[in-house]
Amino acid sequence: MKITVDEPKCVAAGQCVLIAPEVFDQRDEDGMVVLLTEAPDADQHEAVREAALACPAAAIHVADS
């Protein structure tokens, strides 16, 4: 799995952090998404896909590698 985020689209809702806190974080200053790892372990894949679905800005893209 490879994750990419379209940062200018991010709206700082933090949905990704609520769903997959080991993969996503938010910057303190403006809440923008911070990708902690582009290629998370397999046990995180389900949560990452949920986060991509729930993102209110469609800013998370997940590709299978």
Partner: protein, 405 residues
Amino acid sequence: MNRIAVVGAAAGGLATAEALRRRGYQGVLTLVGDEAELPYDRPPLSKQILAGEWEPDRLALRGRADIDALDLDLRLGVGASGLDAAARTLLLADGTSLPYEALVVATGVRARCLPGAEGVGGVHTLRTLTDALALKTGLRMGQRLVIVGAGFLGAEVAAVARRLGADVTLLEAGPVPLAQAVGEETGRILAQVHREHGVRLHTDAKVATVLSADGEVTGVALADGRVLPADVVLVAIGSLPNTEWLADSGLALGDGLVCDQYSAAAPEVYGVGDVACWHNPLFDTAMRVEHRTNAGEQALAVAHNLLNPDARRPFAPVPYFWSDQYGAKIQAYGYLRDHDEARVLRSDLTERQFLVAYRRGDRLTGVLAMGQTPRALRAWRGLIASGATWDTALTDMAVTDPAAV
């Protein structure tokens, strides 16, 4: 289950379709939408699109390849016109009738119009991409824009229009903008922000009529006799759920499609997004939420409930919305309406910071903020989600974030 129809192809409908596939549904999946475009996102319409920062193709919620991978029976540019619930048949505006085993209603809302202003050149509403592009052409340096309705949509457009150099007048029918949605205290703070940015905000301003000459708008006349000259008018006075096509379906309609705590309107019929009025057990109240995040969350919940009829879960989210105005982001968690108290815990507009907590009975039910850290906001959200009492919440937050209380 082998035949699911999702009506409405915006954020909620598309997310439902995606979530159904993600959860292993392999049957026929019809997605119907009355707009011709591939599913696109609406929040940027009043922000980046209006400001000219984004081209419309950036609004696409998913690329063509991702849509194709869902293997949809995709029907765009044709709305639903009726429903025979007993026969489980969906009727489309082009005369097609489609049998279904399960139905998801995600038809959203449309902008309310101002009676008498329809068809007048230069008078706009803002809900679709077409609307946004039409309004954008009128927002130029020095143009006089009058916005009827000082809700979040009107406020966002005011902020963009000021940045583009337009002369902006914002009309609010009540004494304080947004009072019903977020309380008078917060409304007064937001009103001050607009005034500081050169917006003329008129409160208690009831519109009598839109004035025009040769079919083009020239101004807005108020009930008290004042006339506000205008080159462009935006009508932003709320929205109406798109449920007319369900009028003869036997489904319960009120403020939208009436759903239970599982987001179900009837056996194998569910509502998703702006159109759905469901019972949120977390706040023990019926709510219809026009927030972008809710469309996604409800889609995930409905997909689960549809595919797991014996293990359904109540849909009990903490609603969340954001609004971008003058380069700052307003964020809110919870159910802000019907509160007993809205306490301003922090207010420093020069630092672009404020924080308001909402109480209903003895419970913390919401928080609205600008300029607070994500960590602090998530802590507030956690307290709302856990049903924390007001006293507990304020004590907890005083420990976590001493400046907040």
